[in-house]
Symmetry: C4
Subunit: 232 residues, 4 copies
């Protein structure tokens, strides 16, 4: 519940505009500059839930249809696409959890707008299990791929906006070097460009798109540090 | 488990009423004045779960009924009302999460009664996914809208009572200015008045009610800070 | 994974028993005396999940069977027993969350055994949604009531054992007054006696049992502090 | 989102390689050396969810088939295997939660690779409810046992790799004695050997395997400290 507009409105003429407006700024700062700890806790909860949610869609084989070890084996092999999609969604969420966590590590404090932007980010996070399931069920349909990609795009755009806003509003720790600020920004742009390329590949085949996006995500999860280490 | 009534009852005559009662007050303070950290963690968990729960009701289209991209597209378009309700419930929970978090930021400590009042608040939070689903399924029924509104009213009333109780019991940080105390109170009242107006609009049509409440919530999430900034 | 037995076994003859055994005690203390923060976080997560889980069993009325506001109203009235059981389960979990949190507030540190005892407590916590659902579905059956009561008994017994163990093992903050130690113990015993009386009432009728237990729980949530305040 | 490779690539020739590379190392350290708190919070959330998830598979008896206390009693007895599997999964997750928590207690900080290794560990954690359910449903099938064991093996291998990596990369608190470092490693190896023996027992019968693994897990949860105490 936002709590700082109304006093500004209702009171500014009561007890002297000048004194009051100074008080209001203090009031405003006191309320708006909160530590981002609880937002982090809420985010971790939402991510934890979203990460675990897709396992509910790994349905057991029907006991009635299983009569031998081979039947069970085959039934499990049929689950492979679901498991791959599960892994892919885990990677996506892992990447964006890392992204948000990195940003929040540099936050000195958090105001209401940024809080709401991160809540919008969490909204996109909770949509991920749905868009992943949709893609797994309709793997040959471009519409499903488009929805999946729009989900990733939304995650990227909101996360990018959060960082831009935090930079402009002076919410970031002052000792954060410019290079880090720029690096975080550029990183989102490059990753999103890759995802867009992946999405475009659906002109050829949705499977190419999925494979490409999967490889990009694996790269983000596994590769970068290794290259860095070699260079350092 | 409450742990301070019984000793007061059973012991007060044993080893001298005066000495004992002083000891009891110390005992009582020691037990009752807890830091609200774990309550915050429990709340964040409940909110995270409730926020993510509604995505389970975004059901995939039946694969058997989908034969072309167009079929899938249409099936997704049919999901729009569910997604809008999902967004609306996200906004509601986001607003009340912010409200509770703002209050708890000003708490110096938490006693048993306040803990239980916040647990009652969490009860209302966990009802939100149900009342939202009900409204989505019976969007033209006033009964459904009434249940939804009663849910929001309950959230507001309990949150308001928490703040009143915390103020009266001296649980709030001493340096909290009066204006903030008042502002938090007034904010709940004004928001709840708006919701009540929205609920009343169902005399015309439940859709008007929903649209009105949706706009009020968007306003609370997006607008206020902007106005504040222009004024400052 | 427990990590301190094997070195004690395998190494004690290698590099001098005396030196080694001192090192082992240090080693042991280093590993065993952990701060209970992560256990608290795990517990809050489990409680948050268990608290929210029962809302999944509030099923929407079948849209096909609803043709008027009255139909919907009646369908919602039929949900009342489920909602009452939901509330009851919320109370139970709230009481035991408070109980565990109070104990952990007094813990100076946590060893492996206590960790496992609290994990056993969490096991009983996760059973609560099941036993509550069972009782709601078979409200006239003594077997269902027995299962419900056994669940509460398990919660109480494990929580009591945790406190006893923590006291005996010196894991409690040294400045914790004896009265508090005793009060926490006594409180569990008295509450459990009440629950047992409630369970016994099923000889007359399970509904009497449920009503009695419900009142006891409401008393624990609402009443005690009021009495305390009047006395102070 | 990894954020430190690209500047290294794109910028190293712009403004003087030497100065820049020093800046890059600082940059790199600032970004990479994060405190593991949020990773712990995410892990606790995932574990809490996974621990509670299996209770959803304790299905209530069909009300239509229950006509007497005896019917209900028998229906509940039929649930015993599910409850035993639930308990077993709780033990498994409890053991690995303890394992991860112990490791993280010794972490001074966390870099990106280790974060991703722990996310892989969480992936294995979320698979546990599935593999447990599979084993409960197909208790006589070696394929189901194999899947269950592969799940445990994956948990062990990833956790072992995390510790090895943290040791090699200097991420562990400097005052951690060598014995502890070794003990943690050895413990995983021994536990995994036991599980492998258990899995091999399925040559005789899967029930022997399950019984053996169950006993091993109970031993890890209950026994070790007792032995330690006798020795100290």
């Amino acid at each position: 519940m936002s709590i700082f507009v109304l006093p500004a409105r209702g009171h500014s003429t009561h007890n002297g505009a000048l004194i009051h407006s100074t008080a209001m700024v203090t009031l405003y700062n006191k309320i708006a500059n909160q530590s981002p700890e609880r937002l982090a806790a809420l985010s971790d909860g939402v991510f934890a839930f979203a990460l675990t949610l897709l396992v509910l869609d790994l349905h057991l084989p029907e006991p009635g249809s299983i009569h031998s070890e081979r039947d069970l084996w085959r039934a499990l092999v049929l689950l492979t696409p679901s498991i791959v999609m599960y892994l892919m969604s885990f990677l996506t969420l892992g990447i964006f959890w890392n992204g948000q966590q990195t940003q929040m590590n540099y936050l000195a404090r958090c105001d209401r707008d940024l809080t709401w932007m991160y809540i919008a980010f969490l909204f996109a996070v909770t949509l991920t299990p749905f868009s992943t399931k949709l893609l797994a069920a309709f793997i040959a349909y471009r519409t499903a791929l488009l929805v999946y990609w729009l989900n990733i795009l939304l995650l990227g755009v909101v996360l990018y906006s959060c960082w831009q806003y935090a930079n402009r509003s002076g919410l970031i720790k002052e000792d954060t070097p410019r290079e880090i600020r720029r690096a975080i920004r550029r990183r989102v742009v490059i990753a999103q460009s890759m995802y867009a390329v992946g999405a475009l590949l659906c002109v050829i085949s949705t499977r190419w798109s999925i494979a490409f996006i999967f490889v990009v995500q694996l790269y983000y999860a596994i590769a970068p540090r290794k290259l860095q280490v070699r260079r350092a």
